[in-house]
């Protein structure tokens, strides 16, 4: 408990108390500041693209890995884990080396006037890469455990591929999917390393919330820094809350089923 207090609750309290050190007005003002507002917007855009992209990818990968045997399956599983294994800074550097002006595709991109590095597309790409494993990792064991029987049953009953997916596969994985999406979102909004390398720290244009916090902090602007940080902290709390709510709901559903079964047996 002491451990939890020192390492979890105390820092959280410090974030909020520092943010509100000069009163609520100063807190709100630092959030309304244009650069801070731009950072918040950019973070939402990056997460808003990365999370759906990885949702689609995660479901597709889990479905392919869980339901089929194919050549190169173990390679694919390893590749999915790659973003976990590689330092985010290195992932960011890889994008710079690929898309940067001196990079592999740099001259071609420059010739066509496409900006990826030090621009929004680079930030989105880096975020997608770093949050790549979350949904897939959450779903693969679930899909594998459930096997193919229900899908085959749906097919013999005349359901098409999409009908089978939306009516049978998806409902069976929805809690795991939601869980993966929440974790993916938390990471997408909080990502620092990879985004830092590709962003270029252009204030008001390519700064996400974590980058903005760092700059403010380095400039000794503690109230604005902690004000933005408090938003990320709130996001973390919200994530934890939704996560427990999902777990609680899933458990409650199970309990209700069991209670109903017990009741019928007594009757």
């Amino acid at each position: 408990m002491l451990f939890l207090g020192v390492f979890l609750f105390l820092p959280l309290a410090v974030v909020f108390s520092s943010a509100l050190a000069k009163g609520l007005a100063a807190y709100l003002a630092s959030l309304r500041e244009p650069d801070a507002w731009a950072a918040i917007r950019l973070t939402l855009i990056a997460a808003g693209i990365a999370v759906p992209a990885n949702l689609l990818f995660g479901v597709a990968a889990a479905w392919a890995i869980g339901k089929f045997d194919f050549f190169g399956k173990s390679v694919l599983i390893t590749l999915i884990d790659l973003p976990f294994a590689v330092s985010p800074v290195v992932s960011g550097l890889i994008y710079v080396l690929l898309f940067g002006l001196q990079g592999l595709l740099g001259p071609w991109l420059a010739a066509h006037d496409i900006k990826i590095i030090f621009a929004v597309p680079g930030i989105v790409l880096a975020t997608i890469f770093v949050t790549f494993p979350f949904v897939a990792r959450e779903l693969i064991p679930l899909v594998q455990a459930q096997g193919n029987d229900e899908e085959e049953a749906a097919l013999t009953l005349g359901a098409g591929g999409w009908q089978t997916f939306f009516r049978v596969t998806l409902p069976n994985i929805k809690w795991g999917l939601l869980y993966g999406v929440i974790l993916c979102n938390a990471r997408a909004m909080g990502e620092f390393g990879a985004v830092s390398v590709v962003s270029g720290h252009i204030r008001g244009r390519t700064n996400t919330m974590p980058l903005h916090i760092e700059i403010l902090y380095n400039e000794y602007q503690f109230v604005p820094a902690f004000a933005v940080a408090s938003l990320l902290a709130l996001l973390a709390l919200l994530t934890l809350f939704v996560k427990s709510a999902i777990e609680w709901k899933a458990k409650q559903q199970l309990a209700r089923l069991e209670a109903a079964a017990a009741g019928e047996e007594l009757a």
Binding site: D149, E150, E152, A153, A154, L155, T156, L157, G158, A159, G160, Q163, R167, V168, P171, N172, L257, A260, A261, E264
Partner: protein, 353 residues
């Protein structure tokens, strides 16, 4: 609807699950695919269903080639060993599924679906459980729901993969009798897979005995049990004593005892099969052919008394007799007795597998 499988071959890597199998199932019959695990029976069923596709060969329903059709297009009802009920749907929704996923043009109206599902619920005697989830049902109830779900789409054939395999012994017995009755009512061509010879012999009109990717014999329960075509069929359909014998001048000799039963050819060595209940134990020889044996173990629990003995040439022999006969004989362990084979089956010595 009749089912024909012609020249079906299926390999998994180097393992031949089915090796050039031909099978014809007449319309309206209830057929059992019987065999040990790895005999290819489930693979054959899944190929008929369209859940698996053969490497070569043709499947025909009512004479028309449907080899390339998917499971949905074939309109088969498939019942899985572990039920495969949709766990997030109620019993009602499970049964209605096949009707609800139809394209809008051929989808029956809600009212029709409702009354049809309730008809099926009455058929499986589970009307009052329509709003339960599969997790709230017993194994036997789940399997009946799975059957109703398969029947809801009015399938052309009904295919069941080890339908009673996951149930306990008593429920299994009840459910297979119920399936037999059901089939007598609705006469849909049905094929079920089982490794339980008793189940196949009791339920099916016709039994297909499979082994190592091939069909050993097809026939009525009476035919396969009383006139087995191969040693495998004989062994698989019940307990059996196997003796090495030889053929001498047209007679099968078991050790030095001549036994009845026609040998297939004048062959020096042969295998002689006798069911445990076709051996008669006597205290005294009575002039009939016999051999000597010493009793080693007696198990008197159950409808038949099972006796283990050692023959005069040192091999084991199993004998079954009625409780009544056992009481008359008053057998004890280590007693020396005479055994007379009543009904033996002689196969070629080289065709042992």
């Amino acid at each position: 609807m009749s089912i024909e499988a012609i020249g079906i071959t299926k390999r998994f890597g180097h393992f031949a699950a089915l090796d050039n199998v031909d099978l014809t199932i007449p319309s309206g019959e209830l057929v059992a695919l019987l065999g040990p695990s790895g005999s290819g029976k489930t693979t054959l069923l899944r190929i008929i269903a369209g859940l698996e596709f053969a490497d070569s060969g043709t499947i025909r329903f009512n004479g028309s080639d449907i080899t390339e059709q998917t499971a949905g297009e074939r309109r088969v009802g498939f019942v899985f060993q572990h039920y495969a009920l949709f766990r997030h749907m109620t019993v009602f929704e499970n049964i209605a599924f096949g009707l609800r996923v139809r394209p809008r043009k051929v989808r029956p109206p809600k009212k029709t679906i409702h009354s049809k599902v309730y008809d099926l619920l009455r058929l499986i005697q589970l009307e009052n459980l329509a709003h339960r989830y599969p997790s709230q049902l017993s194994g036997g109830q789940r399997q009946r729901v799975a059957l109703a779900r398969a029947l809801a789409v009015e399938p052309s054939v009904l295919l069941l993969d080890e339908p009673f395999g996951a149930l306990d012994a008593k429920v299994r017995l009840e459910l297979r009798r119920w399936l037999r009755q059901l089939h007598d009512e609705i006469h849909i061509t049905s094929v079920f897979v089982t490794h339980d010879q008793e189940e196949a012999l009791e339920v099916a009109d016709r039994v297909v005995v499979m082994n190592q990717g091939r069909i050993e014999q097809v026939g009525s329960p009476d035919e396969v049990y009383n006139h087995p075509a191969t040693p495998f069929v004989y062994r698989f359909l019940g307990n059996v004593n196997l003796f090495h014998g030889r053929i001498d001048e047209g007679h099968a000799l078991l050790h030095n005892t001549a036994v009845q039963g026609k040998p297939p050819a004048d062959n020096q060595s042969t295998l002689v099969y006798v069911r445990p209940h076709s051996l008669e134990i006597r205290r005294q020889p009575n002039g009939e052919t016999h051999f000597r044996a010493t009793i080693k173990h007696i198990n008197a629990a159950g409808p038949l008394v099972k006796v283990e003995a050692v023959t005069e040439w040192g091999g084991p022999v199993h004998v079954e007799m009625s409780q009544e006969r056992f009481r008359d004989l008053q057998l004890t362990n280590n007693e020396s007795v005479f055994i007379t084979p009543r009904d033996v089956k002689v196969f070629d010595g080289h065709s042992s597998d």
